[in-house]
C-alpha cells in the first residue's frame, strides 16, 4: 500500500495541526463559558446597569476577557502536537496541565470523523479515536485535512486487521476472524455499498415519535380541568380550600387553570418542535454504508459525524418500536457496541451505537439480515414467560397497595377519588398485563432473541458467544414454582428473561457458557 508510506514521511516527527484548529479551540472555550452561564448570569444581570453606567471601567474588562480568550485559544493550538510512528499515534496537548497520549493503532477500537460547520469550507475534520479496554483513554486530533484523515483512518484500521491476523494465527478457532479480516483487506479499495438513507420526512417522524411522553400528556389535556376539580374536591374534603390558594387578585381559579392549560400546550408544542429539530440536527443526510466488514454511519446538519464500526465489534441488534411507532409503522434499529466507555462524552455522536432512525419494517429486516444473515428475529416463535409474573406483580404488589388505599378512602367516604384510584389500579394492571404479554424469548443455534415492551415492542438479538457473564436468580417464591430469572451480560449491557421454567433457565445458561468457552471466539 502506498498511503501508509506517505503518512509516515509526513508525520514521523512532532508536528502542529493546521492553524484552522484555533477555530475549534475558540468554539470550545466559548461553549465552555456558555455552559457556565448559569453561574455567570446573575452577575451579568445585576451588573448590567453598572456596566452601562461606567463604560470606561467595563470596556477594558471586556477587552481583557476577549484577549484572554484569544491567548487561551492560541496557546491551546500552540501546545497541541501529534506524531505518528511505528503504528503509534501520540498526542501532546494542554496549556497548564499537560497531557500526553500514546496510542498504538492496534488498540484503537473505533475511528470517528467529526466535521463541525466551520471546518467544512476548509475541508478539515476532527478525528476521534476510541480505545477498547477498561481505562477511558480517548484521543482527538483536532484538525486534519479531510483526505489525510481518511487515509490515516484506513491505515489505522488496516493495521488493526494485520495485527489480528498475526496474533491470532495458528489457533484454528480464529479462522473465521481471519477470513473476515482478509476479506476486508481485499475490499479496502472497493466502493462502499449504501445500505440506508433517511429523508427529511423520516427525521420529522423520528423527532415526533421520540417525544412521545409529551404527546401522551397532550392526549390527556382535555381531562386536566376535571382532574384539577377532582384534586380540589379531594383537598376540600379534608378542610383545605385549594381555591383560595389560587385566588390571585380578582381572577377566578378556572381562568388561571385555563391559562396553565394553554401554557402546557405551548410548552408541549415547543418541545415537539425541539425534538424534531434535534432529530434533524443529528440525523440530517443520514447514510449507512458498508465497506467490507465495516459499517459507516454519516449524518449531521451542522456538525457532520462519521462513525465506523467493524462487524465483529457489534454486540447486539435492537429493534425498538413504541406505540406511536406502531401506529406509524416505523421502528428504530440499533447496532450496539461495547459501552464500556460510559459513552456520554460526545452527545451529538450518540456514542458508540449506530442508530438507524424510524425505518420501515422491510428496511429493518434488510438491515438486520445484512448484519446477521442467519438471524430469525422476525420469524422465530417466541416463548412467553410464566403467568406467575402477573400474579407476583399484580397479585402480591399492586393489589395490596390498592386495597389499603381503597379501605382508607371508603372510610372517608371519598368516592370520587376511589374511582380515580380504581381506574389507576386497572390501568397499571393493564400495563403489567401488556408487559407480560410482550415478554418472550427464543433461542437457536447461534442467537438468543428477546422480545419485550409494554405498549411498544422491542426486539433484542445477540450471538450467544458474545456473552460476558451469566446470572441465574431464584427467590423462594420462584423456587417453589420451579421458575427462574436469568440474565445475560453483554458488552453492550445486560438482558434479562424473567419467570421461565428453571430447567430452561439452567439450560440456556449452561448452553451459553458452553458456547462461549468451546468456541473461544473473541467478543470484539
Amino acid at each position: 500500500m502506498s498511503e501508509p508510506l506517505i503518512i509516515k514521511q509526513q508525520t514521523d516527527k512532532w508536528q502542529r495541526i493546521s492553524p484552522i484548529a484555533m477555530l475549534y479551540f475558540i468554539v470550545k472555550i466559548i461553549l465552555g463559558l456558555l455552559g457556565n452561564i448559569v453561574y455567570l448570569a446573575p452577575a451579568v444581570i445585576f451588573g448590567y446597569k453598572e456596566i452601562i453606567a461606567h463604560p470606561h471601567i467595563w470596556l477594558p474588562v471586556a477587552t481583557l476577557v476577549l484577549i484572554l480568550i484569544f491567548i487561551g485559544t492560541f496557546l491551546s493550538f500552540y501546545f497541541f502536537q501529534y506524531r505518528l510512528s511505528n503504528g503509534h499515534i501520540e498526542i501532546r496537548s494542554g496549556v497548564f496541565s499537560k497531557k500526553h497520549i500514546n496510542l498504538p493503532f492496534t488498540r484503537i477500537q473505533n475511528v470517528k470523523l467529526e466535521q463541525p460547520l466551520y471546518y467544512r469550507p476548509f475541508n478539515y475534520t476532527c478525528m476521534q479515536l476510541d480505545t477498547a479496554g477498561s481505562n477511558k483513554q480517548e484521543a482527538k486530533v483536532v484538525a486534519l485535512k479531510l483526505d489525510f484523515a481518511e487515509a490515516l483512518k484506513q491505515e489505522i484500521l488496516s493495521q488493526h486487521h494485520r495485527q489480528n491476523i498475526y496474533s491470532e494465527d495458528g489457533t484454528d478457532s480464529n479462522d473465521t476472524l481471519e477470513t473476515d479480516s482478509e476479506k476486508t483487506n481485499d475490499s479496502i479499495n472497493t466502493n462502499e455499498t449504501l445500505l440506508n438513507t433517511r429523508s427529511l420526512t423520516d427525521l420529522i417522524i423520528h423527532g415526533l415519535t421520540n417525544n412521545r411522553i409529551w404527546i401522551f400528556l397532550g392526549g390527556l389535556a382535555p381531562f386536566f380541568d376535571d382532574m384539577g376539580n377532582a384534586i380540589a374536591n379531594f383537598f376540600k374534603s379534608f378542610g383545605i380550600d385549594i381555591e383560595q390558594f389560587f385566588m390571585f387578585a380578582d381572577k377566578s381559579w378556572w381562568q388561571i387553570g385555563l391559562f396553565a392549560l394553554t401554557l402546557t400546550f405551548m410548552a408541549m408544542l415547543l418541545l415537539s418542535l425541539f425534538s424534531v429539530a434535534g432529530a434533524i440536527l443529528s440525523y440530517y443526510n443520514f447514510t449507512l454504508t458498508k465497506l467490507g466488514d465495516r459499517y459507516i454511519r454519516r449524518s449531521g446538519l451542522l456538525t457532520k459525524h462519521e462513525v465506523t464500526m467493524r462487524l465483529s465489534r457489534l454486540q447486539m441488534i435492537v429493534q425498538q418500536q413504541d406505540w406511536l411507532d406502531i401506529i406509524l409503522k416505523r421502528m428504530n434499529v440499533k447496532f450496539e457496541q461495547s459501552n464500556a466507555h460510559g459513552g456520554n462524552y460526545q452527545p451529538g455522536a450518540a456514542n458508540n451505537k449506530i442508530i438507524i432512525p424510524s425505518v420501515k419494517a422491510y428496511e429493518s429486516q434488510r438491515l438486520i439480515d445484512d448484519v446477521y444473515p442467519e438471524n430469525k428475529v422476525h420469524s422465530v416463535i417466541y416463548q412467553g414467560i410464566s403467568k406467575r409474573f402477573l400474579l407476583r406483580n399484580i397479585g402480591y404488589f399492586l393489589s395490596p397497595i390498592y386495597i389499603v388505599i381503597a379501605i382508607f378512602l371508603l372510610y372517608h367516604s371519598n368516592f370520587s377519588v376511589l374511582l380515580g384510584a380504581t381506574i389507576a389500579y386497572l390501568f397499571i394492571s393493564l400495563l403489567i398485563f401488556c408487559r407480560w404479554k410482550r415478554w418472550g424469548y427464543a433461542v437457536d443455534k447461534q442467537f438468543i432473541y428477546i422480545r419485550k415492551g409494554m405498549l411498544g415492542v422491542d426486539y433484542y438479538c445477540f450471538p450467544i458467544y458474545k456473552v460476558q457473564q451469566t446470572q441465574f436468580v431464584q427467590s423462594w417464591f420462584l423456587k417453589r414454582h420451579r421458575l427462574s430469572v436469568i440474565k445475560f451480560v453483554l458488552a453492550a449491557g445486560s438482558q434479562k428473561i424473567p419467570f421461565i421454567d428453571q430447567k430452561i433457565g439452567y439450560h440456556l445458561i449452561d448452553n451459553a457458557l458452553f458456547q462461549v468457552e468451546s468456541s473461544k471466539r473473541s467478543w470484539m
Binding site: T171, Q469, S494, S518, R521
Partner: protein, 181 residues
C-alpha cells in the same frame, strides 16, 4: 457467520451432556468471614447509637425541647434496622459460596433471592485482589474480576483466605483462555 468447524460438535450435544451450573462443586468462604462482617456491622451500628445517646446526654449544648423525642425515635429505628440487618447478614453470609471449573468461575449468594453469577475465564479482562485494613488483619481478601460487561457487572468473591484468593488469581492469569478473549 459460520462457527469454527472444529467446535461444531457443540451443537450436537444434548442438554444432558452440557456442564451444569446447578451441579457445581460449591466451596464455602473462609469461616471467619461471616463473623468479621457481623462484628463490623454491629460495631458501626453501635457507634451510631452511642453517638445518639451522647448527643442526648451531653451538657454542653442544650437541645431544643422538641428535638429529644425525634432523636429517641430515630435511635429506635436505627436499633430495629440494626437487628434486622444483623440477622439477615448472619444467615445470608453462611449461604455464600463459590465454585471453580476449568473454564469458568461461579459465585452463589442470597438468602431470599438466590443468585448464581457465572464468569467464563475467556471473557475476563483483568483481576484484582482487594484487601481493606480489616481484611489484612484477619487474612482475608476479596477477588474482583472485570469483564467487558462493565463496572456494574464486576464479578466478586469476598471473604476468601488470602492464599486461596492468590491462587485463584494465579489460576486465572496463567489460564490459556485469559489472554485470548
Amino acid at each position: 457467520m459460520d462457527l469454527p468447524h472444529d467446535n461444531f460438535s457443540n451443537q450436537a450435544l444434548s442438554a444432558e451432556q452440557l456442564p451444569k451450573i446447578n451441579q457445581l462443586n460449591q466451596q464455602p468462604l473462609a469461616p471467619i468471614y461471616p463473623k468479621v462482617r457481623l462484628a463490623l456491622t454491629a460495631s458501626i451500628f453501635s457507634i451510631l447509637l452511642i453517638i445518639g445517646v451522647l448527643i442526648l446526654n451531653q451538657p454542653i449544648i442544650p437541645l431544643p425541647d422538641n428535638a429529644t423525642p425525634i432523636i429517641h425515635n430515630i435511635l429506635l429505628m436505627i436499633a430495629i434496622l440494626a437487628v434486622v440487618i444483623l440477622i439477615y447478614i448472619y444467615f445470608a453470609d453462611q449461604k455464600k459460596s463459590y465454585a471453580l471449573r476449568e473454564l469458568d468461575l461461579h459465585f452463589t449468594s442470597g438468602l431470599v433471592f438466590r443468585k448464581t453469577v457465572s464468569q467464563p475465564i475467556l471473557r475476563i479482562q483483568h483481576v484484582e485482589l482487594k484487601r481493606g485494613p480489616i481484611d489484612r488483619k484477619v487474612g482475608l481478601a476479596k477477588l474482583q474480576v472485570f469483564s467487558a460487561g462493565g463496572a456494574l457487572h464486576t464479578f466478586e468473591i469476598p471473604g476468601l483466605p488470602v492464599e486461596d484468593a492468590e491462587s485463584i488469581r494465579q489460576f486465572i492469569i496463567s489460564h490459556k483462555d485469559a489472554n485470548n478473549g
